[in-house]
Symmetry: C2
C-alpha cells in the first residue's frame, strides 16, 4: 500500500535520450524486464554507486566503464541482481556490455550495466542477450513511463518525475525514474535511479552536482536500513538544448537547473519511501539545532530505523517514549536530554526531555491518524539540521519479505 | 512463542538474600508487580546500567546510591519504566528509596530502585509506597521463581538460572533472574537482571567480574536493536558462604565461581532472546577470523539487526544474498569479499564471496527448518572472533508492538 500521491506525471522526453524496453524472461513472464537507454553522441554521464563492500558485478563493471569511455548505452534488467555471483557473474556483466556494444556498434566500455532483483543467483545472460535486439528495435524518446515500469521489483507502482523550465526563452527538460521498495538505505544512491536532461553540463561539474543532490535525496531515505548491493544512480546531460556547457555555480540557467534537479531527485527518492514495502505511513524525521550534520543524521537514523517506533507508527500510537529511547541510544556524545524537545507535526510531545506540559494524548493521536507525519526533534546543541524520510513497519513488510525471495 | 527450553530450573535460595513480592496495582490488576530484595548486612553489590542518554530516573538514582552506600535493598516495579518523566519521575524514584528505607530502618541510599514498563508516564508512587509493607511482610529466601514472574513485561515466561558448585567440600550457590523481550539491545546490561551468590567477593573485584561477564552475555544479545532506557543488571555477593573474599583471578574457588558466573549470565541473556517478542527462531551469529573484536561485532550486529535477514529466517528461507548484503554494509574497512565464507550450521552456503560450489538449496532449507540455527561468518582477516545471539522477525513482533503500549 503506497502512501500519498505516486501518480506518474507527464514524462517529458529528453532530447538525446531514447529508451527501448522488451520482455527477456530473466525471471518473470508476461512483463517487460529489459530496458536499454541510448544516449546521443556527446552526452555526458555521471553516476554514483553503492558503498556496500559486496557490490554487485554490474556495479563494478559500470564503475570501470564510466571511467574508461563516454557512455552511449545503459542496459538494465530486473529479476536478478547479479550480486554474490563471483567470476561467472562478472563475466555475465561484461558480456551484456559487449553484446550490446556489438549490436549498436560502440565499444563495450560505452555501455553501463545495471541489475536488480534476487541476490546470489546467476544472471541468465543468454536470455538477456537474446532480448537486446528487441530492446534496440523499440527505442523511442517517449518510453520513460514504460522504462519506469520495466525496472520495478517489489515496487507496487512505477516512479517518475519530470520538469521543464525556461531560461532566456529556451525551454529545458529534466526527467527521471527510480525504483526500490525494500533493502533501502541508500549510501550513494537508491536501488536504481536514471535521470536525464538536455542541459549541457561539463562532465566533472555534472558528477559534482550529482553527488551533492544525491546526498540530500536518495542518501536521506531509508525503509529497512539494509543498504543494497546494487544501488546506482545515473545523471545524463545530453547537451541537446545547445547551451554553453555549465561548469560552475553561476548564472540563471545554473540556478534554474539546480533547483529542478533538487526537486526531481527529492521526488524520486521520496517516491521510494512512499512505496516502501508494506508502508502505510510516510514519515519525515527532522532534526534541528544539532552540533553538526553527522549528529543530526545519527539521531534521525536511530529514529528512522527503530522497529519499535516504526511499529508504533503503524499502530498510530503516539509513543514518544520510544522516540526518546531511540534518540538516547543514537550515540551523540554528551547529549543533554534536558534540552531536547520533540514534536509530532506541530504538537509538542516532549519538552526538556520529559512530557510536554501542554501535551494531551488526543493531540498526539490526532496527528498519528494521518498518513503523512513529521517527527521534529530539537536538540538544543547548535545550528545544524538535517532530514531523513522513512515509512512505518507493518504486517505486510514481514509478509512481503517472508514470501518474496529478493 | 518462545524458542527452545525456557523452563525454570530449581532455583536454589542464596543465603543472605530474601525476596518479597506483592500486588501494588502499578499498571495491571491480578498480578504481583512489586518485588523487594533484602540483602544481608555485609553483602557486596555490583551493577551495570544502560548507556542510553535518556536513562530512566531509577537508573540515575540506583547509580548514585550504589556509589553512596552499601546496598541493603532492591525495589523493582513492573508496568511503568519511570523514564522520560522529568523532575517528577526523579522525585518518585528517590521517594521509593526513602519510603522503603524508613520501613526497613536503613538509609535511603541503601536502596536501589528499578522500574520497567511503559516509558513516559509518571510512576504512581503512592501505589508503589502502599505496596511496600506487603512486600516486606512476604520476604522469603525461596521467592526467586515468584520474583522472576513479578518483573515480567511482554515476556511470555519467567526467566531464571541457578547453579551450585562445590570447592574443598563447601557448596556455593549462584542464582539469578532476568526479564526482557523487546527494546532489547543491551549496552551494559539487559532490561533487568538480578543475580546473587553466597560467595564472598571483594566489591571492586565483583564489579570487574560483572562488567566482564555482562560483556559476553547480556551485551551480546539483540532482539530489535533498541537499547532500553532502563537496562540494569545487579550482581550481589552476600559472603554468607564464609570463604575468604575473592580479590583476584586465582584459586579453585575463583575458577569454579567464574565458570558458573559465565554459564548463568549466558543462560539469562539467551533466555531473553529465546523469549524475544514474536520469536520463532533462536539465531547464533558467530563471526570468525576477524581483525579485531570490534569488526566481528560490527558484522554480527549488521546481520542480527537486518529486518530482511530476520524476516527470511521467519520464513525459513536460506536467503544468503541478504546475509552477504548485510556483511557488506557493516562498515568494516577494506573488507575483501572474496575471502569470506558463510555457513548455516555446517552447511557452507558461500565460498569466497559467492555461492559455494557444494551448496544446494535443499541443504540450506533443511537447516532453516530448525528452531535453532547458527550463522557462521568466516572473514579471513585475522584471529578475532565473537558471537551475538538474536531471533527472527515475525508477524507477531509487529502485532505485539503495534498493540502494546510499552
Amino acid at each position: 500500500m503506497a502512501v500519498g500521491d505516486l501518480s506518474m506525471p507527464v514524462m517529458h522526453p529528453v532530447n538525446g535520450v531514447r529508451i527501448g524496453i522488451t520482455e527477456a524472461y530473466i525471471r518473470y513472464k508476461n512483463r517487460r524486464d529489459l530496458v536499454v537507454f541510448e544516449l546521443a553522441d556527446g552526452a555526458e554521464t555521471a553516476a554514483v554507486f553503492t558503498t556496500n563492500a559486496f557490490c554487485a558485478a554490474p556495479v563494478q563493471v559500470a564503475r570501470q566503464n564510466l571511467a574508461a569511455a563516454k557512455t552511449r548505452y545503459l542496459v538494465i534488467n530486473t529479476g536478478n541482481a547479479n550480486a554474490g555471483t563471483g567470476p561467472t557473474g562478472m563475466a555475465s556483466a561484461l558480456r551484456s556490455c559487449a553484446a550490446l556494444g556489438e549490436l549498436a556498434n560502440v565499444p563495450a566500455e560505452a555501455v553501463l550495466p545495471f541489475s536488480t532483483g534476487v541476490i546470489g543467483e546467476q544472471l541468465p545472460i543468454a536470455k538477456l542477450e537474446a532480448g537486446l535486439p528487441g530492446a534496440l528495435a523499440a527505442l523511442q524518446a517517449d518510453n520513460w513511463p514504460a522504462a519506469a515500469t520495466g525496472i520495478m521489483t517489489t515496487d507496487t507502482l512505477p516512479k517518475g518525475a519530470s520538469e521543464q523550465f525556461t531560461v532566456d526563452g529556451v525551454t529545458y527538460t529534466l526527467t527521471g525514474i527510480s525504483k526500490g521498495a525494500g533493502m533501502i538505505r541508500p549510501n550513494m544512491a537508491t536501488m536504481l535511479g536514471f535521470v536525464a536532461t538536455d542541459v549541457a553540463v561539463e562532465r566533472g561539474f555534472l558528477q559534482e552536482l550529482l553527488r551533492e543532490v544525491t546526498e540530500q535525496s536518495f542518501n536521506r531515505v531509508t525503509i529497512d536500513g539494509d543498504t543494497s548491493t546494487n544501488d546506482a544512480c545515473v545523471l545524463v546531460a545530453t547537451g541537446k538544448a545547445g547551451n554553453t556547457p555549465l561548469t560552475s555555480r553561476s548564472g540563471a540557467l545554473y540556478e534554474a537547473f539546480s533547483a529542478a534537479l533538487s526537486r526531481v531527485f527529492l521526488r524520486l527518492a521520496q517516491l521510494i519511501v512512499r512505496d516502501g514495502e508494506g508502508a502505510t505511513k510516510f514519515i519525515t524525521v527532522k532534526v534541528e539545532e544539532g552540533g553538526n550534520t553527522q549528529e543530526c543524521c545519527d539521531v534521525a537514523y536511530a529514529v528512522a530505523h527503530s522497529p519499535l517506533i516504526k511499529t508504533a507508527f503503524f499502530a498510530s500510537d503516539p509513543n514518544w517514549g520510544r522516540i526518546l529511547a531511540a534518540i538516547g541510544r543514537s550515540g551523540v556524545p554528551g547529549l543533554d536530554v534536558s534540552k531536547i524537545n520533540v514534536y509530532l507535526d506541530d504538537v509538542c510531545i516532549c519538552e526538556n526531555g520529559g512530557a510536554a506540559a501542554s501535551y494531551r494524548e488526543e493531540l498526539g493521536a490526532a496527528v498519528m491518524k494521518q498518513p503523512e507525519i513529521t517527527i521534529r526533534i530539537v536538540l538544543g546543541r547548535g545550528q545544524a539540521s538535517d532530514t531523513v524520510w522513512t515509512c512505518d513497519f507493518s504486517y505486510d513488510y514481514v509478509k512481503i519479505n517472508a514470501d518474496y525471495r529478493s
